[in-house]
Structure formats: C-alpha cells, structure tokens
Amino acid sequence: MSRLRRAVSLAHRRYFVTFVAVAGMAATWGVMMAFSWSTKLGIVTFAPWVALIGFDLGMVAGAGGVALAITLWLVASNADDVTLDDAQIGVRAVALLMLAIGSALAGLRLRASERAHRGVAALQSALIDATLDGICLSDAEGNILISNRPLRQLVGELGMPSHGSVPERLLAIADSITEPERYRQRMLELAHEAGEASTDEFEVAGTGRVFRGYTRPVPESAGGFAGRVWTLREVTADRELDRMRDAFVATVSHELRTPLTSISGFLEMMQDEEAGLGTSGRQYLEVIRRSTSRLHALVEDLLLVAQIEAKRIELLLAPVDVADLARRSAELVRPAATEKNVTVDVVADHAPELLADGPRLRQVLDNLVSNAVKFTNDGGAVTVSVAGNGDSVVVTVADTGIGIPPDEQGQIFSRFFRASTATQRAIPGTGLGLAISRALVEQHGGTIALTSREGEGTRVTVSLPVT
C-alpha cells in the first residue's frame, strides 16, 4: 500500500512522466537499432511513449513527441534498408497524432478536476480556520482526522499532548482543571457515550479561562464514514459578563433598599395620621403601600437571584408540613382569586413531613400558586394537590389559564424570561419567579417540571425527596 502511495507521489512530480516517456522512447529506439528490428517492432512501440508525453505536457509537446517518434522510426528503417512510401508514413503519423491529442485532452481534464478539488479543499479549510471555535473531526475511535487552526492553537495553549485520541488528550490535562475529579469523570463518560451529543464547561485552574466543549457523533453516511465532531470554545468573556451582570444587579438592588426604607418608613408614620385623610387620600395611600410592597418583593427577588447565581444560599432544614404550606399559599392568593372569580382548591393527601427550609419552600409554593392565579382568566380554576409516596412528596399546581407556547416552554425556567402569552396581555412580572423556584427546589434535591397547552392551562409538578 505504501509502495503504491510512493509511486503515485513520484508520478505527481513535474516532468517525471515525460522523463520516463523519453527514456522509454530512447530505449525502444536503441533496441530497434541494435537488432535491426525496425520492421519487427514498428512505430507502434513508440505509441505508449507519445501518449505519456501528450498526457503529461499537452498537445504541442505531444505533436513534438509524434515528430520525434516518426524521425527515430525513419532513421531505424533507413539503417535496416527498409523503404517506406509516403502513405505508410502519413497514416502512422496521423494515428500517433490522434493518440497524442486524445491523451493530452485526458491529461488536461484530470488536472482541471484536481485543481477544482484542491480549490474546494482550500475553501473548506479557510472556512473552518476562520472561526473562533476550535473544531476537529475524529473517527469512531477518537483519532483526529482533520482539525482547524484555532483548535491546534488551543491544544497548544492548554498543554494537551499532540498524540492520542481526543478523549485521551482531554484526560491528560485533568490536573490543570479547577475540578479535576468531576472533569475526569465526565471525560471518561464522554469516551463511552458514543451515541450522545453533549456540552461541557470547564475552567482552567489559575488562569480563570473557561471553555465550553461540544461533541456530537457524525452518523454513518452514504460514504460509510462514522465519527465525532468536537468543538472547543473559549467562554471566559461570557462568564465574566455574567459575573459583572450579577454583581451589578446585586449592587443596584442593595442601593434600592435606601429609598425603599424611607418610603416604607414614612408610610408607617403616616398611618397614625390616616384618620385625618379623606377617602381619596386613604385610597392613594393604599396604592402607595401596595406598590411599595411590590417594589420590596422585586428587590428581594433580584437579590435572591444574585445569591443563587453566586451559590450563596444556605438552607436551614427543619421538619416541614408541605400540605400546610400549600394551604397557606392558597389563602394568600384567595383575595386576588376571588376578585377574578377564580377558584383555588387544595387537595392534600396524607403527605409525610419533609426535612426542608420552610420559608424557602413557602416561597416556591407562593410563587407557583400566585402564578397560576395571575395567568388564569375570570371563571377559571386553580388546583393545588399534595401527595406523598414513600420516597417523595409531589406538589402539583394546575390551572386552566392562558398557557405557554410549546416553543417557549424550554426557556420558561430561565432568569428574566417571560412567555409571550404573558407579555402580550401585559400581565406584570419580572421573569424571576420560576428561575428562583427551580433553583430552590433543586437545592432541596428535588425536581420541577412543567407541562402546558396554550389556551388550556399549565401544570407545574414539584417533587421533593423525603430524606
């Protein structure tokens, strides 16, 4: 196989084929002269050499080759005292010329297709080299088949070895990652998870550089190739931006507490003088009071989100009766629900007590129940059910509300995300409630899931482990 490859690469060298052809022609002529074989061999023995010259150098050189062959043949015939008539010479000359032209055309076509091929390859490599992401394609065993320049650069910067399969190379730098054990575990999983696409983020210790790796299997196509594509992207700037945004949100929220303090403080002072106000005055005061408490809740939500992001929330665990929490959440929204003619029912099965952070869990339930009422039109119904089995307590909050479009359901737990059904109807909110709820539930080791049909309603299910 390698011998064949060597021969092919030799043939690619400029003028090598012509050199072989001229040498062949000289040898043929030598034999003709030495043995007086001009008739025995005939001009046909020059044909292959003419064809090769035409193929390698084109038509003009091919015609030159024909002239040379005819001349050599005539000299040999002359030496052998063979007389040739003009027709004999002419017919053979034309035949050779045809051969030279044909092979010149074949050569031209082959070179054109080679050039086109090289052009496409150059475009493709220019394309993959021009991205910011490091990209490589490996075979099923993880051996790199092709990689782009950014990847080669990153591999150097990260100190990965230049040999071995992709998983092996990734594993080799485990000690320089901030959480080496988790990273190692993840890379081992990756090596065995042939059929899955996955994304991972890791930070290089001491440098603050964060990378996101993505890998996806490339299924066997018609060409019979099966392997994996791997991309590596530096997301340091994104993470830094996240940190800055959270710090900014936290600072602003803390600063908002100053005006809030004087507003709510003086509101309290005014309470004593409320009797002296007229009916409208008391109404205005009530509006200010309501808005102040909303503003306060908003500031606390923003701060909680910042704390969650910074992983600074600590749970104070104590036995909690979830059914009792659900009933209290329902009572809290009862006035708003009654105003909208929305019924709120709590169905509590004998759910076991949980070891949980009561106020935090209360916050989750308040959030889900008030969402259910908020997003349900007049005459609708909200049902809160609490059920327990041996291992977990499941709380379901179901409404007959406006629902969430299917394509938005995946983002509904993201911070600041609000469903279009809510924004179109100008229903107030910050897009923080579900993000906070999910973070708090997950911190309790539980799960939160949502199913929804636009125009029919939404059901949120929270599952919390008993132990």
């Binding site: 809030l260 303090t261 004087s262 002072m269």
Partner: protein, 107 residues
C-alpha cells in the same frame, strides 16, 4: 435622663425617619458629627456600609456602646461590628427598629 442614641446614617431622609422614631420612643437623637465627649452615648443606630458608620466605629473603638445595625446589606456580608446587639436589613419597619432599641435598654 433620656438615653442618648447616636445616629450614623448617610441618607438624609432615612436619618430624619430614624430621628423621628428615636424621639417617639422618648430617647434623644444625636447626629453622628456632634461632639460626644461632654455627655456619653448610650447606643448607636448605624449603617455599617457607609463612611459615616465606619468613622463612628473608629471613633469609639473598643469602648463602643451597644450598636443596632440597619444596613442595605445582609448580615452575611460581614459588616457587623463586635458591639452589635441587633442587625436589621433595610427596609426594616419602624416597629422593628423600635423593638431593637427598646431591647437595648431593657424596656
């Protein structure tokens, strides 16, 4: 004699709110910049996250009277001085502030 409470709060509106609260409780409100060497201070109402608050704490040093903190930052921020007896986060209600002050004097 009325207990004297020093108020170290950078925001003017909150300062007057605190003075009002303190006076309603029957105590004497002392501004942070006032000289305090003639008559002693019995308690400090303090925003620890500000220059005024820090300079008051420096001035009193180890001899600080009981301190009631009222801050825009939560306790976990680690701003609470050693002499602190209560830590409230803004916007705390005036009732909560009053309770904290009363408990300093055992009322």
């Amino acid at each position: 004699m009325k207990p004297r409470i020093l108020i170290a709060e950078p925001n003017e509106d909150i300062r007057s709110l605190l003075e009002l609260t303190v006076r309603r409780l029957g105590y004497e409100a002392v501004p942070a910049h006032e000289r305090t060497d003639c008559r002693p201070i019995d308690a400090i109402l303090l925003e620890p996250a500000c220059a005024v608050g820090r300079s008051v704490l420096r001035r009193f040093g180890d001899a600080a009277p009981p301190v009631v903190c009222l801050s825009i930052y939560p306790r976990e921020q680690g701003l609470e001085p050693p002499a602190s007896v209560a830590y409230l986060v803004k916007p705390a209600s005036t009732a909560a502030i009053a309770d904290a002050l009363r408990s300093v004097f055992g009322d």
